[in-house]
């Protein structure tokens, strides 16, 4: 008989999230543009970001302001004095042999944000630190990383400003990790510090362990779904190892997005020694005197906006949450709600439009707010049915066009009451059995007759009117 083994305990996850400040005008330490994503390799470079002998870094103040904004939004404490360090290690993508980063005295520490816990309720995730560092160059491999015969190096990314947000190991499931990233991404979007649609804009390193066990680090995951999947894979892998009595080794693993698996990159015999020391070419920086100004410049953040939506528009907590989950969606809602009843707007945008967009993998920019306003105005004037309104939205998303034209082309205008009355009379005449059943109180028969009327009016009759007229004629309840 198998000896009973201790079942693996809780899952412990900590994240290091690298965010590219790709909206700045220049890289972290030089004047090169960080907008390299559509450019030929090695065209956005200079002696500084190539690490040529003799070149010196000069700090981009915009990056510091962005980092302070993020830190404030994450409820961090801004440090009085901040310092840059050299993190020394050899790798092909690192042109100087060290990365300029922060070690002691990062720009901010001790923050927290709340996320929806997997088991319900809010959970507070502590932020250990926020710091600024430069991005290395990008390696381009022929084929998968572990069997590529050579690497090509593109230095366009070298020196782009990054902020790294490091959590405490407070996350308890892959889903919670993904939820955390959603909340973080939402805040970053509101702060307008990065364009997440660009390659490499957000990269995650995840540390994961089972309670009391050795932890592994999965590096460079570049999608939200990837984080959840990589973590799930790691948990299963680690649990299997524990069940089979095999020791988990402390190592760095690579997540293969295509295959959905993690692969060992390098085993850490011991913690790598980065020989951090203060970067002699940059002077210590104090941001204290500017914190208040930066705080004042902060836009309304998702949490505040959500609360305001509930109070100002009287919409549900759920709708407010959906509508504030993206900055542009929240703006879209406010534009529509300025013309149309906010509760009606919230329902149609959060429940209907958002669903249609998600189904098609589209963003809110695919749908002009003025079209939503028109559709809701027509709907409110009882000139189309709700079903037709959904049809208009789908048509606009699939083929484009103006709501009024689509309604006209598809003949979606609601039919007159007299036409409905005529159809009702016909349906009663043609279906005596159903009429009898209906009078005997069979609800299904009433539904059948309604269906017949809708068929005759090509679905353009207002169901309420059909219902009302049928009941009048049949005098049934």
């Amino acid at each position: 008989m198998l000896k009973s083994r201790k079942e693996p305990g809780d899952v412990i996850i900590g994240l290091e999230v690298h965010v590219q400040l790709n909206k700045l005008n220049s890289k972290l330490f030089c004047g090169c543009s960080p907008k390299y994503h559509d450019a030929e390799p090695n065209t956005h470079t200079c002696p500084v970001c190539l690490g040529l002998p003799g070149a010196l870094p000069v700090l981009n103040e915009g990056a510091v302001v962005d980092a302070v904004k993020v830190a404030l939004a994450l409820n961090c404490k801004i440090e009085e004095r901040t310092l840059f360090y050299r993190k020394n290690y050899y790798y092909l993508d690192l042109p100087k042999g060290f990365q300029i980063s922060q070690y002691d005295y990062p720009i901010a520490i001790d923050g927290k944000i709340s996320v929806n816990g997997t088991g319900g309720g809010e959970r507070h995730i502590r932020i250990r630190r926020v710091h600024i560092e430069e991005d290395p160059a990008r390696l381009v491999h022929k084929g998968p990383i572990e069997c590529s015969r050579y690497s090509l190096i593109d230095y366009n990314r070298s020196g782009v400003a990054l902020i790294e947000v490091v959590t405490e190991p407070d996350l308890r499931s892959p889903k919670e990790a993904r939820e955390f990233l959603n909340v973080l991404r939402n805040i970053l979007e509101y702060l307008d510090v990065f364009d997440e649609s660009l390659e490499g804009a957000l990269r995650v390193d995840a540390n994961i362990s089972l309670a009391g066990g050795t932890r592994t680090e999965v590096k460079n995951i570049s999608s939200y779904r990837g984080v959840e999947k990589a973590l799930l894979f790691e948990i299963v892998r680690q649990k299997n190892l524990v069940r089979r009595g095999i020791k988990i080794t402390q190592e760095t693993r690579h997540y293969d997005e295509k295959r959905g698996v993690t692969i060992s990159l390098r085993t850490k015999e011991e913690e790598q020694d980065y020989r951090y020391f203060p970067e002699p070419d940059l002077v210590p920086l104090g941001v204290c005197n500017r914190i208040d100004d930066i705080r004042e410049s902060l836009p309304e953040l998702p949490d505040t906006k959500r609360q305001r939506f509930v109070q100002q528009y009287g919409i549900s907590e759920y709708h407010a949450k959906v509508l504030t989950s993206e900055l542009r969606l929240s703006n879209f809602f406010e534009t529509v709600a300025s013309e149309i009843d906010p509760i009606l707007s919230a329902t149609w945008i959060a429940d209907v439009l958002k669903g249609e967009l998600n189904y098609r993998g589209l963003g809110i920019s695919a749908f002009p707010p003025k079209h939503m306003i028109q559709i809701l105005q027509i709907l409110r004037g009882k000139n189309i049915t709700e079903k037709s309104a959904v049809q208009v939205i789908r048509t606009i998303l699939d083929r484009g066009g103006e709501p009024a034209d689509i309604i006209k082309q598809k003949g979606l205008i609601k039919v007159e009451e007299s036409t409905i009355a005529k159809a009702v009379a016909e349906a009663i005449k043609e279906n005596p059995a159903a009429v009898q059943d209906c009078r005997n109180g069979k609800n299904e028969a009433l539904h059948f007759l309604m269906g017949q009327v809708m068929k005759k009016t090509h679905g353009r009759a207002d169901p309420n009117i059909v219902n009302k007229l049928l009941k009048e004629k049949l005098q049934c309840t």
Partner: protein, 466 residues
Amino acid sequence: MNVSEAKKRAEDESVEEVVTSLFDNIEKSELNAFITLAKESALKEARKVDRNGAKGALGGIPIALKDCISTKGIETTCGSRILKGYVPPYDAHVVERLRAEGAIIIGKTNMDEFAMGPSTETSYFGPTKNPHDLSRVAGGSSGGSAAAVAGEGVPIALGSDTGGSVRCPASFCGIVGLKPTYGLVSRYGLIAYANSLEQIGPFACNVEDVALLLNVIAGYDPRDSTSMDKKCEYTKELRDDVSDVKIGVPKEFFGEGIDEDVEKAVWDGIKILEDVGASYTEISLPHTKYSLAAYYIIAMSEASSNLARFDGLRYGLRLGKDEDWHTTFSEIRAQGFGEEVKRRVLLGTYALSAGYYGKYYLKALKVRTLVKRNFDAALKDVDVLITPTMPFPAFKIGEKTDDPLALYLADVNTVPINLAGVPSISVPCGFSGKLPIGMQIIGRHFDEGKILRMAYTFERHAGVRC
């Protein structure tokens, strides 16, 4: 040849003649002062000046640059095999300034590999010889620049000074060399050995030319975060008057290991300044004795990081074998770096590694703070400090190469100045036999004007010139 002689010759003959005869001198010379001669571009520039007339503060004046200062289009090797063939695609800030003022760059001078050494013996391109005695070293690490000025008739040159690398060869070769205040001259384009300590500094036969060159290279540069806007017109500070100056003589700089002739020559020098009106008092800088240890730990630590970029991947030495990248990097570095560079990189790596950082690097930084405070306190009571530049005159080539520690001791009087970041000038103050001796005048931060005035007054009254 000094600047005014060069100007006169250019007027009498032509700039082209001046430059051509310089190249003749250099090519005939046994000093090995140059690694690269920029003959073609220099002559082209010279002819241009002859055609259009001299423009700028250094119009048509030839200058030699230490080979760690980046020059666009001219090979820059740092005296190392690992950078052989590297042609920078950009000019250092100082080179931009020199070109803007019309100077003609005639070549890149020999140096200790990556500026590590006080003798120019660690250069991959062989040692530079002392113009006063070919069997002796020219000093280092800017030995090539000093020898070019002292022995080959180059009017002005630039070096870099991390722990004495301008002042030591100035002293050994009998010329004037200045290490400016940290932050006065932009380091942009200076290939780093130890960033927090080094400054680019001028060499010349006389103080006036040093001041003239400093006028050109000093000043704020937004590309160097440690650069300061503190420049003034140094040539205007040169007056034969030191009656308002209080000299401090720190006894720690006259201690054990100082050559008798050196000690006497420097005291005689102080006497001369006293005779023309300066006053002096003996003072103490008690933390000086820890300076050397702190200096070497800081310099080697920074060097270990600075030199990491030399991997042969994009420029410099390539061995032509394609193996996996760690093997390729390791072999290039094993073959590209000399013994002294490897020693310092290894020691620096060790000093920064986990568990030793606090014991060595952090402690060295604390000593540095104490040394700095010593200087600040002393320079409150007195205006300048005077000491010997080097504890002894130029030694024989090969004499100390087997004993790196003995060589490190040579820097004992110059490194505390780099730790403190204050300016310091070495002026010739006599001879030991045929070998020159240098006197070091140290000033307050950004008080280059005063030490140049001291040096200028001394030069006029002592009559020691190259």
